[in-house]
C-alpha cells in the first residue's frame, strides 16, 4: 500500500519535471547557478535569492545561488572566469567587483567577465541626525565654507564610493570637510547618531529603520532624480552640485556568451522588473530600477572603472 503511494508520488514528480522541461525549451539549461561574493544574508545574496524566486517561473529555469566568499569578490570572479560560457553560470555584480580588480591583482579581474544586464542602482544618500540644522546639501556647503575642515562627514571604507563622492564633493564645491572613514556602514550610522560626525553617507536599506523611527533624516540624494520613497528629499544635482553616483546591481557571465542566452536574459529581466510582486519588493527596498541591455551594461562598467581608477590613483589607494 505504502509502496503504491510512493510510486504515485514518483510519477507525479517526474510529470512536474517534464512539464518544467517543456517550459524552458528555449533556454539551454534547466539549472542556472548565480554566484555572489556576499555571505548568506548579505545585500547581494538577498537580492539574488529574491531574483531566483521570481525569475525562475519567468524564464522556466531553476536557479541556485552559491556564495563564493573571499578576497572581496576575487574568488567569485575566478570561478566565473574558469566556467564555460554557455549560460549556466552568472555573477551578481556590484561596484566591489570592479574595485577589487583595481585594488589588488586577482587571478581573474572584471575584464575577464562580460556584463549581461544592469538591473538597479542603489541610491547613495546624505543623512543627518534628526535634530541637525542642515536641511539640504547646500547648508552643508555653506557651513563648510565658513569653517573649513570642521564639518565631519562619515563615510564607510576608504575605497568606497561614499568616500569617492565626498572627495569629489570637495573639488566640485570648493570646500574642505573632514572625511572620516569607517569599517562599514553600521559604524557610520553609530557615529552620526552619537554626534561624532555631522553628516553621514550611506544606502537606504541600512538606514531605513532609523529613518522610520525619526532618529535620522535624509537631506540629499546623489541620484539623477528624486526617490519615489522620499519625494521631498532634493537631489544634489538640483542644488547645483553635479554629482550622481551609480552604484549598480546587475549580472555578468564568462566571456563569449552565445547571443540567444544574452537575449533570453535581456527579455527575462525586463519581464521581471515589471512583475508586480518583484516590483513591490524592490520598491520597498528603495532601489532604483535601471535596466540596461548588454551594450549599456558594458558601457556603464567601463565608465565606472575609469572613474574609480582615477580616484584610486589620485588618493594613492591603488596597489603596486
Amino acid at each position: 500500500m505504502k509502496y503504491r503511494h510512493f510510486l504515485g508520488a514518483l510519477v507525479a514528480v517526474s510529470a512536474t519535471v517534464s512539464l518544467a522541461a517543456e517550459a524552458l525549451a528555449d533556454y539551454p539549461h534547466s539549472t542556472v547557478k548565480l554566484v555572489t561574493h556576499s555571505s548568506p544574508g548579505g545585500g547581494t545574496d538577498v537580492f539574488l535569492r529574491k531574483l531566483s524566486q521570481h525569475l525562475g517561473p519567468i524564464m522556466g529555469v531553476n536557479f541556485v545561488v552559491e556564495n563564493v566568499r573571499g578576497g572581496g569578490g576575487a574568488k567569485a570572479m575566478a570561478v566565473l572566469a574558469n566556467s564555460p560560457a554557455d549560460g549556466s553560470i552568472f555573477y551578481g555584480t556590484t561596484p566591489s567587483y570592479v574595485n577589487t580588480s583595481l585594488l589588488s591583482s586577482p587571478e581573474a579581474s572584471f575584464t575577464d567577465l562580460d556584463p549581461v544586464v544592469n538591473m538597479f542602482y542603489d541610491p547613495q544618500v546624505v543623512y543627518v541626525r534628526a535634530n541637525s540644522p542642515y536641511q539640504d546639501l547646500t547648508d552643508v556647503v555653506e557651513d563648510a565654507k565658513s569653517r573649513p575642515q570642521q564639518v565631519i562627514v562619515a563615510v564607510s571604507t576608504p575605497s568606497s564610493l561614499d568616500r569617492q563622492v565626498m572627495e569629489q564633493f570637495q573639488t566640485v564645491t570648493g570646500t574642505e570637510v573632514t572625511i572620516l572613514t569607517h569599517d562599514g556602514g553600521g559604524d557610520v550610522i553609530l557615529n552620526v547618531l552619537n554626534g561624532t560626525a555631522q553628516v553621514g553617507i550611506g544606502e537606504i536599506a541600512e538606514l531605513r529603520g532609523q529613518i522610520d523611527a525619526g532618529e535620522l533624516r535624509l537631506i540629499t540624494t546623489y541620484t539623477d532624480e528624486r526617490l519615489d520613497l522620499f519625494p521631498d528629499v532634493k537631489t544634489a544635482k538640483e542644488q547645483g552640485i553635479d554629482l550622481v553616483v551609480r552604484k549598480f546591481r546587475g549580472l555578468a557571465g564568462p566571456k563569449g556568451l552565445p547571443e540567444d542566452v544574452v537575449t533570453a536574459w535581456e527579455e527575462g529581466i525586463q519581464k521581471l522588473l515589471a512583475d508586480p510582486e518583484f516590483k513591490a519588493w524592490y520598491e520597498g527596498e528603495g532601489v532604483i530600477p535601471a535596466y540596461l541591455d548588454q551594450e549599456g551594461a558594458r558601457a556603464l562598467t567601463a565608465e565606472f572603472a575609469t572613474e574609480m581608477k582615477a580616484f584610486f590613483t589620485e588618493y594613492n589607494i591603488q596597489a603596486e
Binding site: G41, K75, L103, D183, L190
Partner: protein
C-alpha cells in the same frame, strides 16, 4: 506583560522548541570544531531557514550563536585549541585543569557558567534594551581607543613571570595587525601584492597556529611520554555542586558584569569580554596565584562573560539594526530575509517576534545545558584515545576547518607560519596570549586613535576630555601599575630568597 505572554506562547510551540534545540546542537558542534566560528556555523544554516516562519528562523539562528560561543570552550579545555575567538582566555586555566586530570570539572564549570551567563544576559536584554543601547552610543572613537588600551594592559597579567617577554609578544601581535589595508586611507601595507592579505592576517588563523599547531609541534619535539593526563579522573563530566558554584560567585559576577557592559558595544565582542573578565576575576580573587595553574575561577569567569555577550550583543542589532560582529550580521540577515527591519521601531511593530525570540533563546540556553551533559561524556572519551591518533586528527580537524572558511590554501600557510612562530615563542618561553591580544586589538586601537586625531586636528587632549575614554584609560593605568607592582614584588622576593 504582553512581552511575557509573547515569550510564553513562543516557548510552548513545538516548532520553536525544535528550532532552539536543533540550533544549539548545531552550534555546539560548530563551535567545538576549530575553524568553524559561530558566524560560519550560522551562515551554513541560514539557507535552511528561508522557508521557516520568521520567529522559528530567528530562534534557530540565535540558538546556533549561543551554542557555538559555548562550544568553543570544549576544545580549548581538552586539546588546547580554542574553537572560537572568545574561548582563547579559557585555554589558560582550562587546559591546565585537563592536564591535572580535572578536564571533566573544567567542562562542567564552563557549561554551567555559560548557561548562567546566557540566562543572565537574556534577562538584561529583555528588560534593559534601551539603557544598553545608550551605552553603545557612548562609544565614540576616543572611547574605542581607550577600550583597546585597556585590553592591551591585560598583557601585564597574562604574561606573569616575564612582563618584558609579554610586551615583546604583544608588540609582535600589534605588528601583525598592521598588515592589510590601512583603515583610514585605504593604502595597502605589507601585503607584497598578495590579494589574500588585503583584509589583513585573520586572527583565528594565528590563534589556531599559535595554540593548536604549536602544541602539536612541541609534543613531537618532546619525544617523551607526555601523558600528564590521568585518564581515570577525567573520563566523565563533573558538574559543579551548588556550594562550589557559590564559592565561585565572585568570578561569575565579574563575568556577568563585564559581559553586560562589553556586549552592547559594537566591535568589542566576546573576545575582549572574556579576556577582561579573566583579568578582573584574577585581580579580585582570593587565590590569584592559582591563575594559570588550573584555577576554577579562571575557567568560569571568561566562559560566563562570553555567553552573557551572546545576549547583550543583540542590543545594537535589535535597537539600531547595526550588527556589531559577524555573527550578529548574519542574524540581521535573517531578519531582513523575512522582511523585518530591526531598529527602534521593531519593539512596537513586531513585539511578538521580538519577545518570542527572547523566549526561544531562553529555552535554547537551558537546552544547551542538557545537550552539553549528553555530549561532553563522549567528547572526553574521545580525547583520551591514544595520543598519536588524537594528534593526527587534531591536525586534520584544524586544517579542514581553516580551509572551509575561505576555501583558501593560502590560509593554511598562514596557520603553519603562525604555528612555527608559536613554537619558537614556546621554546624561548614567551607567552603566546599577548601576541593574540595585540593582533585582536591592534586594528581597533590604530584606526580609532587616528580617527580621534582626525576629528580634533591632532589634539591628544580628546582622550582625556571624553568621559568614557578617560574612565577606561584610568582603568588601564590601574591595571598596568598593579601588574608592574606585583611583578616588582615577586622579583624582589626571588632576589632575597
Amino acid at each position: 506583560m504582553d512581552g511575557f505572554i509573547h515569550a510564553l506562547s513562543a516557548v510552548t510551540s513545538w516548532q520553536i522548541l525544535l528550532a532552539a534545540g536543533g540550533g544549539v546542537l548545531w552550534g555546539i558542534l560548530g563551535g567545538a570544531l576549530p575553524g568553524i566560528s559561530p558566524s560560519i556555523a550560522m551562515a551554513l544554516l541560514l539557507p535552511f531557514t528561508y522557508d521557516m516562519s520568521p520567529l522559528m528562523a530567528l530562534v534557530m539562528l540565535g540558538s546556533v550563536y549561543i551554542g557555538a560561543e559555548y562550544g568553543g570552550s570544549i576544545p580549548a579545555i581538552l586539546i588546547r585549541t580554542p574553537g572560537t575567538n572568545a574561548a582563547a582566555a579559557t585555554v589558560i586555566d582550562g587546559y591546565v585543569m585537563h592536564q591535572q586530570g580535572r578536564g571533566g570539572e573544567a567542562l562542567g564549570l564552563s557549561l554551567t557558567g555559560g548557561t548562567i551567563g546566557g540566562l543572565f544576559g537574556l534577562i538584561l536584554l529583555a528588560t534593559l534594551t534601551k539603557p544598553l543601547s545608550d551605552l553603545a552610543l557612548m562609544f565614540t572613537p576616543p572611547a574605542y581607543f581607550a577600550l583597546g588600551l585597556l585590553g592591551l594592559s591585560i598583557i601585564a597579567s597574562v604574561s606573569e613571570g616575564s612582563m618584558v617577554k609579554g610586551l615583546i609578544a604583544g608588540v609582535l601581535g600589534l605588528m601583525l595587525a598592521t598588515v592589510g589595508t590601512d583603515p583610514l586611507s585605504g593604502v595597502t601595507r605589507f601585503t607584497f601584492g598578495e590579494p589574500e592579505l588585503l583584509e589583513g592576517v585573520h586572527f583565528i588563523l594565528v590563534m589556531l597556529g599559535v595554540f593548536a599547531v604549536a602544541e602539536l609541534m612541541s609534543k613531537l619535539a618532546d619525544n617523551e611520554p607526555d601523558d600528564l593526563v590521568k585518564p581515570d579522573t577525567v573520563s566523565k563530566l563533573v558538574l559543579p555542586s551548588l556550594s562550589k558554584l557559590w564559592s565561585l560567585r565572585r568570578a561569575q559576577a565579574i563575568g556577568c558584569a563585564v559581559g553586560a557592559l562589553e556586549g552592547p558595544v559594537p566591535g568589542a565582542g566576546g573576545t575582549v569580554a572574556s579576556f577582561l573578565s579573566y583579568n578582573e576575576a584574577r585581580r579580585w580573587s582570593k587565590t590569584p596565584e592559582q591563575f594559570g595553574k588550573g584555577s576554577e575561577e579562571g575557567v568560569i569567569a571568561p566562559e560566563t562573560a562570553n555567553n552573557v555577550v551572546t545576549a547583550t550583543a543583540l542590543v545594537p542589532t535589535l535597537s539600531f539594526g547595526i550588527p556589531g560582529s559577524n555573527s550578529t550580521a548574519i542574524l540581521l540577515g535573517g531578519f531582513l530575509i523575512h522582511g523585518l527591519q530591526p531598529g527602534p521601531l521593531l519593539f512596537s511593530t513586531n513585539p511578538d517576534i521580538l519577545y518570542g525570540l527572547f523566549g526561544g533563546l531562553f529555552v535554547a540556553n537551558i537546552m544547551m545545558f542538557l545537550i552539553g551533559i549528553v555530549i561532553l561524556g563522549p567528547a572526553i572519551w574521545l580525547v583520551n584515545r591514544p595520543r598519536p591518533y588524537l594528534n593526527a586528527s587534531i591536525l586534520a580537524l584544524v586544517f579542514s576547518g581553516i580551509y572551509s572558511i575561505n576555501n583558501s590554501i593560502f590560509d593554511l600557510w598562514v596557520v603553519l607560519a603562525a604555528g612555527a612562530i608559536g613554537y619558537v615563542l614556546r621554546v624561548l618561553k614567551f607567552p603566546a596570549l599577548p601576541l593574540i591580544l595585540g593582533l585582536v586589538l591592534g586594528y581597533m586601537i590604530e584606526s580609532n586613535y587616528r580617527r580621534s586625531l582626525l576629528l580634533t586636528q591632532g589634539d591628544h587632549a580628546v582622550f582625556f576630555q571624553n568621559g568614557v575614554s578617560a574612565f577606561l584609560m584610568g582603568c588601564a593605568i590601574v591595571v598596568l601599575v598593579l601588574g608592574a607592582y606585583t611583578e616588582f614584588r615577586r622579583f624582589r622576593r626571588e632576589a632575597t630568597a
